[in-house]
């Protein structure tokens, strides 16, 4: 069964009909990227300023802690349905911009970036900031010239977690009539078309991994040059080598 099954999957993936038109793979990839990009953009516009404010001033820290914990407990699957209850399916919008899905994705993307931005700015060496202040830098000046560049790798790590999570959950959007690559999986289930389900799953997984890789590359690009830890690539440094570093606590993928 297995060999012929993979044959059917390859057949599905190589059928030109599946690669053209509004319902083909390229169109679905574009939908998936628009849906994810728009949600991530809105989420960043909210999470980055708030994270910077809290990290810089040290105010409202409880907000970050409770958001990080609570955000993990809310099932993204249920969040989609709650927004559909509230806003309807939004069928008058294009498949890539259905309001209930965008709202749910934005809400899911906020906690990882917010938490990391706050931690990144909070963790900047106090002596460095004192030195900047001593040189006459203002609060905003230290934020822009010292805290943001030093915190950039950690902030980008947060954005990466958010991005991967958004790309993953966007696939679930198909359950509530959204577009994107999830359509192949959900429509495949409806039609009991297992090769299509598998091909769709493969495409979703590849897109998520590519997102992870792209953001990891960006992260390495902004890592301070003197640090060798950030230049070693994706291979995790053993905790022995980074004594005192808090373990990366990833947030759930939808």
């Amino acid at each position: 069964m297995t060999a012929s099954f993979f044959g059917e999957v390859i057949e599905w993936l190589s059928a030109s009909a599946n690669w053209s038109g509004d319902f083909g793979v390229p169109a679905r990839v574009v939908e998936h990227l628009i849906m994810s990009g728009a949600s991530l953009g809105i989420a960043m516009a909210i999470a980055l300023p708030i994270g910077m404010y809290i990290g810089h001033t040290g105010r409202l820290q409880f907000l970050v802690v409770s958001l990080a914990n609570f955000g993990r407990a809310i099932p993204s699957f249920g969040l989609l349905f709650l927004f559909v209850l509230w806003l309807g399916l939004g069928l008058s919008s294009p498949p890539s911009l259905r309001p209930p899905i965008i709202f749910a994705l934005v809400l899911l993307a906020i906690p990882p970036t917010l938490t990391n931005t706050y931690v990144a700015i909070q963790n900047v060496d106090r002596d460095t900031i004192e030195a900047a202040r001593g040189m006459g830098m203002t609060g905003i000046g230290t934020l822009v010239a010292i805290e943001l560049p030093l915190g950039a790798p950690l902030i980008l790590a947060g954005i990466r977690t958010s991005a991967v999570q958004v790309v993953a959950t966007a696939a679930l959007g198909a359950v509530v009539a959204g577009g994107g690559l999830g359509r192949f999986i959900i429509d495949g289930f409806a039609a009991r078309d297992f090769p299509q389900i598998f091909a769709g799953a493969l495409l979703v997984a590849i897109l998520a991994i590519l997102t992870e890789v792209a953001f990891a590359g960006l992260e390495r690009l902004v890592s301070p040059r003197m640090s060798s830890a950030g230049r070693r690539g994706r291979a995790e440094p053993h905790p022995w080598e980074v004594a005192g570093r808090a373990p990366r606590s990833p947030d759930p993928i939808a």
């Binding site: 099932p75 349905f81 679930l172 495949g188 995790e236 905790p239 990833p250 993928i253 939808a254």
Partner: protein, 224 residues
């Protein structure tokens, strides 16, 4: 259900047995996944702790599994293992590995060298050292991982509604597909969040009992 009020309490209280069943299924699927995850992760963590070169490869594989979206992972297994608990568990267990291995290795690596020297000086062999010194001292970090993995898994179980399981997720999907009134969606989400919060609190309480020496050490917000 046309014409029924949104807050359909009659349906809710008339179907407490159904809701209870879904809750139990949710608990069963999550509990099983975290238990199997631990049974796989702890030996892996000990290996990665002893042979440092293996830490990178082990976390890389776990990281790739973790990056695959749940709907894709479950869907890709269906052609082979069907709409079954096995399909759900393979996916759910895969997602716990990264968190559990990483936290356990961090915990094991954090055991002070002096303490290990002292234990060796008292004649402990490697196995005794592991079970009587390293593991107990690594327990707070391991349990911190179990807490994250449990809360994450409770959220992910809802997605398995798409493959005919789902626990409380099947209430949500049923509410969306008009098999149940809309209130089922709200009940499903509320109970799922409540289950996560209560389980997390219970594990934290269990940790306080198991590691009385670490009392007073507060968990800090970690970066992801």
């Amino acid at each position: 259900m046309i014409g029924a009020p949104f807050w359909n309490w009659d349906w809710l209280f008339g179907h407490l047995d159904l809701i209870g069943d879904r809750l139990l299924e949710h608990l069963y699927l999550s509990g099983l996944a975290v238990s199997i995850g631990l049974a796989i992760s702890l030996p892996l963590a000990v290996v990665a702790h002893r042979r440092r070169v293996l830490y990178g490869p082990i976390t890389s594989v776990a990281g790739i599994l973790y990056t695959i979206p749940s709907v894709a992972l479950f869907a890709s297994l269906v052609p082979f293992t069907g709409l079954s608990t096995l399909t759900a568990e393979i996916g759910l267990v895969s997602y716990t590995l990264l968190i559990l291995v990483r936290n356990a290795v961090t915990g094991l690596s954090g055991v002070p060298q002096d303490v290990k020297e002292a234990a060796r000086g008292m004649g402990y062999n490697e196995r005794q050292l592991l079970w009587r010194v390293e593991m107990p001292l690594a327990l707070p970090a391991i349990i911190a991982g179990v807490r994250i993995a449990t809360v994450t898994t409770i959220g992910l179980v809802t997605v398995t509604a798409l493959i005919g399981k789902g626990g409380l997720g099947s209430l949500m999907l049923g509410g969306f597909r008009n098999l149940f009134p809309e209130i089922a969606i709200v009940a499903g989400v509320a109970l799922s969040v409540a289950l996560a919060v209560v389980t997390d609190t219970l594990i934290l309480g269990g940790q306080r009992l198991l590691t009385p020496w670490s009392r007073g050490v507060r968990l800090r917000v970690g970066a992801s």
